[in-house]
Amino acid sequence: MKPFKYLSPATVEEAIAFHGRHTETAKYIGGGTDVIVKVKEGLMEPDYLISLKKIEELSELHKNEATGELSIGAMVTHATLEKSLMIQNEYPIIYDAVSNIGSLQVRNVGTIGGNLINAVPSADGAIPLIALDGVAILQSPDGERSVEVKDLFIEPYKTILKPGEILKKITIQPQAPHTGSAYIKFGRRAAMELPLIGIGVLLTVNDDLVTCTKARICLGVAAPTPMRAFDAESLLVGKKIDEKILIEAGKIAADESRVRDSVRGKAWHRKEMIRVQVKRMGLKCQQIIRNNS
């Protein structure tokens, strides 16, 4: 591995200042499960690695009891999310997604922020945060700004973050009553696999427990960036949720996707799996809503 200097700032401001001093020769490093691989392979050749590990505020995971806002620091590891009872009970879609990222060894170190910033089309972590209308809080020398998670991605491996900008946290507003959410990473094998396709569905119904008031259908590996199937979502809103309408939504979502052939799978197969899994995840949402009512 090419030598570099490891810097370990204690605050976001200090990290940004380090970056300002070294600009393009410096890279931020979170858990390192992607960055170290890239440095080893020569895809990244930094003179300075600025670690975000010692910045305490970035590792905070908490729910504001007064406002109901969930705040996930960018350096919160996948394993921390996976083990959190609050996440398991209240945000099952996040649990579904993070509990199958890489291996336990990777989840113990890898962070949700790193998963987003890496911006791979297969990022499992992005889909639930988009389905939950998550907002990314970014900080740069110019100050703080917030961007919806769905708008973070430009193309594979590219986000809207400016040089030196840091993803601080993701915030999620409280979900309406009678909301269910689920994610499936669909691949060829259960362990250590990138998804062939990732499907996240979130449904909110009104007090009759069937009429849909809000729908989110989010797809990974279905386009160059994580995407929402807006037409399929629109179909569901105002309708009574049953298997028939979910089958229809699955068809529309498959049509909206921009899947392609790759070494891992064929486009036609991915489309078929979107059709099937949108329905299944929709039914799972419905089950969760019923169980909680």
Binding site: M1, F4, Y6, K40, L104, M192
Partner: protein, 169 residues
């Protein structure tokens, strides 16, 4: 581009001047001669390099040595007693045929230890979930899962049995 770090390694306090770009795996194997931890893929895919840092199983090939500062680290060398008595998990792998070529074994055992330390009653599904990042090309995994199950603390069958165990007889 070196940094002085201090950490607890298998119970011993260690101070070391490390190069910033060294991985923990490099420090353990190439600098300290602790070659029980193996390098397989070097990319976090195979788990052969698994060690325990602050009670969590991690891939030492992706973990920078400088980040070990202040941490408590366990490697396969720390498991057996000084008199050579194997750790119960190690003994169980021997007894249950959980080892063939042995290359994946240190990583398998460290992942198993991290799991059983946290969840001594882990069931088969939990064992599979915890070992999903450790690849074995010999055994087909069944004997490995059986080895971990056999290493679990014996299940207390009933409150009566529990009371018995608690008495000084």
């Amino acid at each position: 581009m070196t940094t002085n770090i201090s950490f607890l390694l298998n119970g011993d306090e260690i101070s070391y001047e490390v190069k910033d770009h060294w991985t923990l795996l490099h420090l353990l194997r190439e600098e300290m001669g602790l070659i029980g931890t193996k390098e397989g893929c070097g990319n976090g895919e195979c788990g052969a390099c698994t060690v325990i840092v602050d009670k969590l199983a991690i891939n030492s090939c992706l973990y920078l040595a400088v980040e070990a500062d202040g941490k408590t680290i366990e490697t396969i060398e720390g498991l057996a007693s000084t008199d050579g008595t194997l750790h119960p998990i190690q003994q169980s792998f021997v007894d249950n045929g959980g080892i063939q070529c042995g290359f994946c074994t240190p990583g398998m055992i460290m992942s198993s230890k991290a799991l059983l330390d946290e969840n001594p009653k882990a069931n088969r599904e939990e064992i599979k979930h915890a070992l999903a990042g450790n690849i074995c090309r010999c055994t087909g995994y069944i004997q490995i899962f059986e080895s971990v199950e056999a290493a679990k603390e014996p299940v207390v069958e009933s409150p009566v049995a529990e009371n018995k165990g608690g008495q000084n007889e």
